[in-house]
């Protein structure tokens, strides 16, 4: 445990170094931390707070304000299920329910094995293909509840 903690500490120090003493550096620092750790983990924020003298509450506030930051670990694969109007009309709810059932998680949650994170999103801009699901960078269209399972199996 202690070894791990000091590793985190070292990494944060490294990330912070070029920004020391500069104004408005919190967001790029948080981006860097998220890039390296996958999400903004608690001990990382605590160390960061000490390093740059910004209280933890303030960092937490910024972290929850911007949708780009995550305070919980995220899965290796991100499933974005479109809940826009076109997709809704064409049954996206059914697909969402099916995925929740397969993975045993609800919206905005991550599976215990950190394989998937499930995020409902507004229109993905591919309404012609409704209902639409994106897994990582790949878009799948014209889906039915039955066609979703084999797709997920491609992602380990």
């Amino acid at each position: 445990m202690t070894i791990q903690a000091s590793e985190v500490e070292e990494k944060i120090r490294e990330i912070v170094k070029p920004w020391k003493g500069k104004q408005g550096s919190l967001i790029p620092i948080l981006q860097a931390i998220q890039h390296d750790f996958g999400y903004l983990q608690e001990d990382a924020i605590e160390i960061l707070s000490r390093e740059i003298g910004i209280p933890t509450a303030e960092i937490y506030g910024v972290g929850t304000f911007y949708a780009q930051f995550h305070l919980k670990p995220r899965g290796r694969h991100i499933i974005r299920i479109c809940r826009g109007t076109a997709c809704h009309v064409r049954g996206s709810l059914k697909i969402l329910e099916k995925v929740m059932d397969i993975l045993k998680i609800s919206e905005n949650e991550t599976t215990e094995d950190l394989r998937f994170t499930l995020e409902p999103v507004a229109c993905l801009g591919a309404c012609g293909l409704a209902p639409v699901v994106m897994v990582n960078d790949v878009t799948y269209g014209r889906l039915t509840p039955d066609s979703i399972q084999p797709i997920l199996e491609n992602y380990k």
Binding site: E42, R50, A57, Y60, T64, F65
Partner: protein
């Protein structure tokens, strides 16, 4: 600063360039409604209640954030503005739970008042019925997020005045809520000091102090008495709300005072709670293992008899609390010192104060005030913590330090035998192994800073050589010493916070003042030292009852008279010396106190809220302790008890002298005139 003139609602209003419209309006007695604004905190312009119209400007502007300009013509109460404000209020009411009949703050709520004043008789928007948490995890402080209007006053007071920055805002829009630390509940917070400032400034029923809820709305209280907190040397001003003869709540004064008008957890809770403690209401005489009630006459007769006998045998002593007022101390002096000619009179923790006096004496003799008002810490760019533990000793000073570092960008250096109590924000943490090394470090630093300043430059050589020596003597690395020097030399206005434990040793006190002088720590009222002494009136105690030489515990005494305010436990050394005396009289307001078990006669004493007089605070101000509730029953004021006692003793004491503390550390010369002194002068 240029004077400017505005026309607000037809009234000619004078202001100064840099003022906001609201500031000009307020200083000219023009009312503009506000919710998120609170004088003393950074305005954020979020609630939009203060909107005004400015001629030739189509937009409505928030008066609390818009700078006033010369010649502006401003309207504050047009129909359009009133409509707009009402609309804002309706949105607030629709957004969360403001069903007032279920709220503990109903009738004591700025939002409710505002709605009534704006004739808001209905809400034209659909209610959101959002379901937020009612955080009840904290023992004393409750946060019902359902009633929050996101005015951010709590966040600002916690960050800008208390300095812990426990609270912040999470998420956005309708989902935004106040949050603690890393998304914790308040009861799980690692930074909250339970000072209650957030609740004091919250304009709604969101953050409340459970103990004060339902005990009386502020405006329904019978009286609000301004007084002073006796619990530490800062002596914060307080407001005590009284309802039906009991204390309903205690608050700090307004946040716009130079000292922030704060109150720490001690003042906020200990004071009102003490009003609930069980009182010693009649004189008591010990009979074997228990006490029996007695009349004042019988009790004082017995006291006088024992006192006289012991006095003739030169075996009597008097110990009084440093939480006494100047006036009370004056009474003790005139009876015991002047009237009876006693030498054995002292205060609790006398050794700390004796060391303090001795250490400061050479500087006092130079005619400079050897310390500065505590809130001047906020003006400093380098705060040096000398073995202090401010969060324990004087929590408001801990606030000044945190705010100084986090908001004003001051550096923080800790020089002490234990790690910095401000771990997360300390720049240099110099921990010596022994007090001897500690004083050598302070001495060495003073010498080096002086030398460096004298040569006026090139630090390289001198520093390299001497830094190594100082490091050697202090048992630190050379790098550490150079780091401290760097902070001190870079600073234009350093300030030194002197821990109470150091005051025992006059040489350390003098060495610290030397260091301050060497660093040019000069403030307009004195040298940049903030000593944390024991209690609210330690300074007043110094030239009244404080003994020149310690006598307590040196000899088993036949008689001791002890006066305690019962608010603090009193120090161990005094307690054990008292318990070794043959006959002990304790005058104390409360039953639950370690002294009570030691007494042969117990006399009731008035509690802090039943007394009046003055305190000499380290803020450098003489502040007034006022009677909040008059004493009840057999509790008598000190003057009348001592008068009877002196009659029984057969002495007629002189009228007490004018309370003397103000001129003890008066400043006759500017602080920059101070000279460093040789430590031999103060060493025994």
């Amino acid at each position: 600063m240029k004077d400017i003139t505005l026309n607000i609602d037809g009234k000619i209003c004078k202001g100064t360039e840099g003022d906001t419209i609201l500031e000009v309006a307020r200083s000219n007695d023009v009312y503009i409604p506000t919710l998120c604004f609170l004088e003393g905190l950074t305005p954020i312009g979020s609630c939009r209640m203060c909107v005004v119209e400015v001629e030739n400007n189509p937009k409505m502007m928030t008066a609390c954030t818009t700078p006033a300009q010369d010649g502006m013509v401003v309207s504050t109460g047009t129909e359009k503005l009133r409509d707009y404000r009402r609309q804002m209020l309706e949105l607030i009411f629709a957004g969360r739970n403001h069903f007032c009949m279920y709220c503990s703050q109903s009738g004591d709520c700025e939002l409710q008042d505002m709605a009534i004043a704006h004739g808001m008789d209905r809400v034209r928007y659909p209610y959101l019925y959002a379901d937020f948490e009612n955080d009840a995890t904290h023992r004393d402080i409750q946060i019902d997020h359902n009633r929050c209007i996101l005015c951010l006053r709590c966040i600002r007071v916690c960050a800008e005045k208390v300095g812990t920055h426990t609270l912040d805002l999470q998420k956005r829009g309708w989902n935004a809520t106040i949050v603690t630390d890393l998304g914790r509940k308040l009861g799980e917070s690692s930074t909250c000091t339970t000072c209650g400032a957030c609740a004091q400034v919250c304009p709604t029923g969101t953050i409340t102090l459970r103990e004060f809820a339902y005990r009386g709305r502020r405006k329904d209280c019978d009286s609000v008495v301004e007084s002073v907190c006796p619990l530490c040397s800062v002596g914060c001003r307080i407001k005590a709300y009284v309802r039906t003869g009991s204390i309903a709540r205690v608050e700090g004064t307004a946040v716009n005072e130079p000292d922030g008008g704060q109150l720490c957890q001690k003042g906020r809770w200990t004071l009102p709670r003490s009003a609930e403690r069980e009182r010693i209401s009649v004189p008591m005489i010990r009979e074997g293992s228990h006490y029996r009630e007695a009349t004042w006459e019988e009790a004082l007769d017995l006291v006088a008899k024992q006192f006289r006998k012991a006095h003739e045998a030169d075996s009597d002593g008097v110990l009084v609390s440093s939480l006494c007022t100047d006036e009370e101390l004056g009474l003790f002096v005139s009876l015991f010192k002047d009237g009876l000619g006693m030498e054995r009179i002292d205060t609790f923790d006398g050794d700390v104060l004796r060391g303090f006096v001795k250490g400061f004496e050479p500087f006092r003799k130079q005619g400079v005030r050897p310390f500065t008002a505590a809130h001047k810490i906020l003006d400093s760019d380098c705060i040096v913590n000398l073995s202090a533990d401010p969060d324990e000793e004087a929590p408001v000073i801990a606030s000044y330090i945190r705010v100084g570092v986090l908001r004003n960008g001051a550096s923080l250096v800790n020089i002490s035998c234990s790690p910095s109590p401000f771990r997360d924000i300390t720049d240099v943490d110099a921990v010596t192994k022994t007090p001897a090394e500690n004083i050598r470090l302070i001495e060495g630093l003073a010498g080096m800073v002086e030398a460096l300043k004298a040569t006026g430059g090139d630090p390289e050589k001198t520093v390299q050589v001497t830094a190594a020596e100082v490091a050697e003597k202090a048992g630190l690395t050379e790098e550490m010493v150079v780091k401290i020097l760097g902070s001190l030399m870079d600073s234009k206005k350093p300030v030194f916070v002197l821990g109470g434990c150091l005051s025992r040793d006059p040489a350390t006190v003098a060495a610290s003042v030397n260091l301050a002088i060497a660093c040019g720590a000069f403030f307009d009222d004195g040298i940049g030292m903030v000593p944390l002494v024991v209690s609210g009136n330690s300074l007043g105690t110094i030239n009244t009852v404080l003994a020149d030489e310690p006598w307590l515990g040196k000899k088993k005494l036949d008689f001791m008279y002890v006066y305690s305010t019962g608010l603090v436990p009193e120090d161990e050394a005094s307690l054990s010396a008292i318990s070794g005396s043959r006959f002990v009289v304790v005058q104390c307001p409360f039953w639950a106190h370690p002294l009570v078990n030691l007494a042969d006669v117990l006399l009731p004493a008035p509690a802090w809220f039943e007394r009046s007089g003055h305190y000499c605070t380290i803020e450098g101000e003489r502040r007034r302790l006022s009677v909040v509730i008059p004493p009840k029953g057999e509790v008598r004021g000190l003057a009348s008890v001592l008068k009877d006692l002196s009659k029984d003793l057969g002495v007629t004491p002189e009228k007490p002298k004018e309370a003397p503390c103000g001129n003890l550390f008066a400043s006759e010369k500017p602080p920059a005139a101070a000279r460093m002194v040789s430590l031999e002068e103060v060493r025994d």
